[in-house]
Symmetry: C2
């Protein structure tokens, strides 16, 4: 393989990431309904068909953005948990909701829009699994049902995030909901009903 084709491959990879970040920025400033293949192509200063030489279609672009998002979410959750080890659940839940409200478009790509990402299977991408594991780690290792705990806590947070984003529940009681949720689901020994 010649040096020239290596350079080409590099440029191609760079453009690949350029498309992803352009789609993400466009979605975050104007919402996903404004992300059309035409506008995206114009933004990366290429014609429309080059998008299809990098991705199978628009859904694949959304999936790529979502995958980036899962990486970021995983690191933020981990940071929050490690910064407050004795209140891990509270910290992780707060970080999750903060992520959802601060990057609503990214969150939508990850959890609402149709993507071809596989969840909860053997081919689940690592960043996705890491996010879930952060929730699991909020519970005691000897808790045999921590997987179930994590699933339900995650569901609750997702419900709060998506219902308040679409205006279906008022967003002003966010902190109260968080405190309440943590109190109900924490499995530390002071919460006798949670085991």
């Amino acid at each position: 393989m010649s040096a020239i084709s290596e350079r080409r491959e590099r440029e191609r990879a760079h453009r690949h990431q350029l498309i992803i970040t352009a789609a993400r920025e466009l979605a975050e400033t104007e919402g996903w309904e404004a992300v059309t293949t035409r506008r995206l192509a114009e933004r990366v200063e290429y014609s429309q068909p080059v998008l299809y030489s990098h991705f199978n279609g628009k859904d694949a672009i959304v999936s790529a953005v979502a995958l980036d998002g899962f990486g970021e979410l995983a690191t933020q959750l981990r940071r929050a948990r490690q910064a407050a080890p004795e209140q891990a659940l509270r910290a992780v839940a707060g970080a999750y909701l903060a992520f959802a409200t601060e990057r609503p478009a990214l969150y939508q790509a990850m959890f609402v829009l149709p993507t071809d990402l596989k969840f909860a299977s053997t081919e689940t991408p690592a960043p996705l699994r890491s996010c879930f594991d952060e929730f699991v780690s909020c519970f005691r290792p000897d808790n045999e049902r921590r997987g179930l705990f994590a699933e339900v806590v995650w569901s609750t947070l997702h419900g709060i995030a998506v219902l308040s984003d679409s205006g279906r529940i008022p967003s002003e009681w966010r902190e109260e909901r968080l405190d309440f949720l943590v109190a109900q689901f924490s499995d530390d020994p002071r919460n006798p009903s949670a085991r």
Copy 2:
């Protein structure tokens, strides 16, 4: 007003409902992405523009379907609660999830797709309010935070419903999640941590 115009009004109302049920059936058999104004018009055996003489646009049709759905959901939740007054939360939560899994398209119209329905405000339609009140009624009248309880329980159920519908959590542990959720959120006197 003449008898003829009365008949016209009747026919018009009938056709109005015809459009709504046609949209709902189409969505439930093929998903909302298959509900286009052209196919819907063909299905009700009228031309496309008549849809716009009944509704402001496609979103308004979705909203009308959703409103029907809220009426049905409210009666099902009420029936479940009254059939098991001493396990109200468990019954209502089960009925909610059953509704979501048995009528996924209807559920989407109510809670996922963009609609112009107002939630949690003074102009919230009655069926919508009834649904929420059913959750509130699962908690003791002397529980000052039952509104908060209801919001969080609803969020959890919605999270479970939407995450399992899109394949993001496995649907096989539904009963376990339900039992766990009810155990954590019930405010009866045997659950000391819930108050």
